[in-house]
C-alpha cells in the first residue's frame, strides 16, 4: 500500500509539474484573450474546461496559472526549509542559552496563527508574489526548525559524532558533513508535505486578493472571481480547484511514500 502511494504520487506529481512546465511555454489559447469561446460556455471538446464570463478558455488559464502557484510554493518552502534547518540545527547542536533561546523562538512562531501571520506580512510588504513567498517561508520555518532541532539533539550524542570530534573536526564540519546527511530523510518528507500545504496557502492568499495580481491567472484568484458566477457556470470554479487538489494530492502521496521508504516508523504530516 505504501509503495502504491509512492507510485501514484510520482505519477501525479509528474503530470501536474509537467502540465505546469507546459503552461509556461504553450497553452492552446491565449489565457488572457477574451471571447475565444462563447461567454460562459460549458466544457466541450474544443474547450475541455469550458469558458469563463469573458469567454476566456479555462483550460489555458488553468495551465498558465499552475506554474505561478508551484513556483511560489517551491520557493516559499525552500526559504522556510533553509532557515528552519539553520535555526533548528543551531539550537539543537549548541548547548546553553543560545540553544534554549532559539528553541523558544521556534515555539513562539508555532503559536502564531498561520493565515493571520501571512495576512499581516502581506499587508506590511504589500501584495504580490514576493510577499507570499516570504509569508509561506515564515510559517513553514518553525516546522523544519522543530524537526531538525529534534534530530540534532538526538544525533549529536552518537558515537560517530564523538569520533569526528576526536579526529579534530570543527562544529561547522560536524553539522554539515556528519549530522545533516543523517537528518535529511525526515526533512525531505516534511519538505514534500510542506510543499503541499504551501500550494494550498498560496491559493488561499490569492483567493483573499493578496497573492499574484491581475491580469496573470492564479488558481486562488480564479476561484475568487468565479464566486459570483459559479452557481450559473460551475465549471469556472470546479476545474481550477480540481487542478489544485490533484497537485496537492500528488505531493502528499509522494511525501507519504518517501516517508515509508526512508523510515517505516515515521508518519509525519502537516496539521491543516
Amino acid at each position: 500500500m505504501r509503495d502504491l502511494s509512492l507510485v501514484l504520487g510520482t505519477v501525479l506529481c509528474a503530470a501536474t509539474v509537467g502540465g505546469a512546465l507546459l503552461g509556461t511555454v504553450w497553452t492552446p489559447y491565449d489565457p488572457l484573450q477574451p471571447e475565444v469561446a462563447p461567454v460562459n460556455s460549458a466544457p466541450s471538446l474544443v474547450h475541455p474546461f469550458g469558458a469563463d464570463w469573458f469567454g476566456r478558455d479555462l483550460f489555458s488559464r488553468v495551465l498558465a496559472a499552475m506554474p505561478v502557484g508551484l513556483r511560489v510554493a517551491v520557493l516559499g518552502t525552500a526559504l522556510g526549509g533553509l532557515f528552519g534547518v539553520i535555526l533548528g540545527a543551531t539550537s539543537g547542536f549548541f548547548r546553553g542559552i543560545l540553544g534554549e533561546a532559539l528553541g523558544s523562538l521556534i515555539n513562539l512562531l508555532l503559536s502564531f496563527p498561520p493565515v493571520l501571520l501571512a495576512l499581516l506580512l502581506v499587508t506590511v510588504l504589500g501584495p504580490g508574489e514576493g510577499s507570499v513567498i516570504f509569508a509561506i517561508g515564515l510559517f513553514n520555518l518553525p516546522y523544519f526548525g522543530r524537526l531538525s532541532r529534534a534530530s540534532f539533539l538526538e544525533l549529536k550524542g552518537r558515537a560517530f559524532v564523538e569520533a569526528a570530534r576526536a579526529c579534530g573536526a570543527g562544529p561547522l564540519r560536524i553539522i554539515f558533513v556528519h549530522i545533516l546527511p543523517n537528518a535529511l530523510g525526515p526533512l525531505l518528507v516534511q519538505g514534500t508535505s510542506s510543499l503541499a500545504f504551501a500550494l494550498l496557502s498560496e491559493a488561499a492568499l490569492s483567493y483573499l486578493g493578496l497573492g499574484t495580481q491581475p491580469p496573470y491567472p492564479s488558481l486562488g484568484r480564479m476561484l475568487k472571481e468565479a464566486q459570483q458566477y459559479f452557481i450559473y457556470s460551475p465549471w469556472t470554479a470546479i476545474f481550477p480547484g480540481l487542478a489544485l487538489m490533484v497537485t496537492v494530492l500528488g505531493f502528499n502521496l509522494l511525501g507519504d511514500g518517501l516517508g515509508a521508504r526512508l523510515d517505516p516508523r515515521l508518519r509525519r504530516l502537516r496539521s491543516p
Binding site: 496563527p113 489544485l244 496539521s271
Partner: protein
C-alpha cells in the same frame, strides 16, 4: 505538577506579550495612515490633526504600546478606528459566530476521524484500509474554499436544503445553526481526514503493546479491547493535534468565513488588517494567539488523564 502549571502559565503570558509587541511594531512600519483613512483625502488639515490626536497617533509608538498594554491589563482593549466601537464588543460579537462554528467543525472532524481511523487500523492492510486511507488522502488535499463552493452547489443550489451564506444572528434562535452547517462541513473534511490518519497510526502502535495482548488474553471482546484499552493512550497524539486544530479554528477561519459571508473572527481579522485598524488587529491577534496557546496547554494537561504513565515535571 504545581511548578509545571506555573512555568506553563508564565510561558503563556510571555508569548502573548512577545506576539503583541511584534504585531504592534510591524503595524507601525505599515504604509498607510489610519487617521487619513478615517477622515478621507479631502479633509482640512485642522480636522486631520484633530482626528490624529483623538486616535492618539501623535504620540510616539512606545508610549502608545504601553498605554495599550495597561488597558489590556485593566480589561480594556481600546476602540476600533474603523468601526468606532470598543474592540472588546466587536470581538465578542465575532466570537459568538466563530466559537460555535469552531465547535461544530471540530465535532464533525472527530466524528469523521475516530470511527474511520479505528476501522482502518483494525483492517490493517485490507481493502477497506486502503480505501479509507485513500479517501483520507483526497480529503487532505481538498482546498477548503473550493469545497465550500462544491457544498453550496450540492446543498444550496442542487438540493435547496441549506443556506449558502450569511448569518442571521442568534436572535433567530437555534435555526441560525443551519447557517453554520456547510461552513463547518467544509472545515471538517480536511481536518477529519488528517485526524483519521493520526488515529489509525496511533492505534496501530498501541495495538501491538503487551497490555493490549493481556486484555485480549483476559477474554475481553475485540470492541472493548480497541475502544477502551488501546484507544485511550493512542489518543495522546490525536489530542495534541486536535488541540492545535481547535485553537486555529477558534482563531478564525478567514477564507471559509469569507466564502459564506459569516461575521466571525476571520472576517474581523481581514477587515482590520486591510483598514490598518491597529487596536482591532491587536485585539484579534491577542484572541487568536491566546486560543491557540490555551488549547495546546489544555491538550498537554489531558495527557495525564489519557495515559496514567505520564508524569508532569
Amino acid at each position: 505538577m504545581g511548578s509545571y502549571l506555573l512555568r506553563r502559565s508564565i510561558w503563556f503570558a510571555l508569548t502573548l506579550l512577545a506576539i503583541s509587541f511584534v504585531v504592534f511594531i510591524s503595524l507601525n512600519v505599515l504604509p498607510g495612515d489610519p487617521a487619513r483613512l478615517v477622515v478621507g483625502l479631502e479633509a482640512s488639515p485642522v480636522l486631520y490633526a484633530k482626528v490624529r490626536a483623538e486616535l492618539g497617533l501623535d504620540r510616539p509608538w512606545p508610549l502608545r504600546y504601553l498605554d495599550w498594554l495597561g488597558g489590556v491589563l485593566r480589561g480594556d482593549l481600546g476602540r476600533s478606528l474603523h468601526y468606532r466601537r470598543p474592540v472588546g464588543e466587536l470581538l465578542g460579537d465575532a466570537l459568538s459566530v466563530s466559537f460555535p462554528l469552531a465547535l461544530l467543525a471540530f465535532s464533525l472532524s472527530l466524528l469523521i476521524a475516530l470511527p474511520l481511523g479505528a476501522l482502518a487500523a483494525r483492517r490493517r492492510g485490507g481493502l477497506l484500509d486502503v480505501t479509507l486511507m485513500g479517501l483520507a488522502q483526497a480529503g487532505l488535499a481538498v482546498p477548503e474554499f473550493w469545497l465550500g463552493f462544491v457544498l453550496i452547489l450540492a446543498f444550496s443550489v442542487g438540493l435547496r436544503s441549506l443556506p449558502a451564506g450569511w448569518f442571521p444572528g442568534w436572535e433567530a434562535g437555534l435555526s441560525a445553526l443551519k447557517y453554520l452547517v456547510l461552513p463547518a462541513l467544509a472545515l471538517a473534511v480536511p481536518r477529519g481526514a488528517y485526524l483519521a490518519r493520526m488515529v489509525r497510526g496511533a492505534l496501530l502502535s498501541t495495538l501491538g503493546e503487551a497490555y493490549v495482548s493481556a486484555a485480549r488474553a483476559k477474554g475481553l471482546s475485540e470492541a472493548k479491547v480497541v475502544w477502551v484499552h488501546a484507544l485511550r493512550p493512542a489518543l495522546i497524539p490525536v489530542v495534541t493535534s486536535g488541540g492545535i486544530i481547535f485553537g486555529r479554528l477558534l482563531a478564525g477561519t478567514i477564507v471559509v468565513e469569507n466564502i459564506f459571508y459569516l461575521p466571525g473572527l476571520g472576517r474581523l481579522a481581514l477587515v482590520s488588517v486591510l483598514a490598518r485598524d491597529i487596536p482591532l488587529v491587536q485585539g484579534v491577534v491577542l484572541v487568536a494567539a491566546g486560543s491557540i496557546l490555551a488549547m495546546s496547554f489544555l491538550a498537554d494537561l489531558s495527557y495525564g488523564l489519557l495515559d496514567p504513565r505520564v508524569h508532569y515535571r
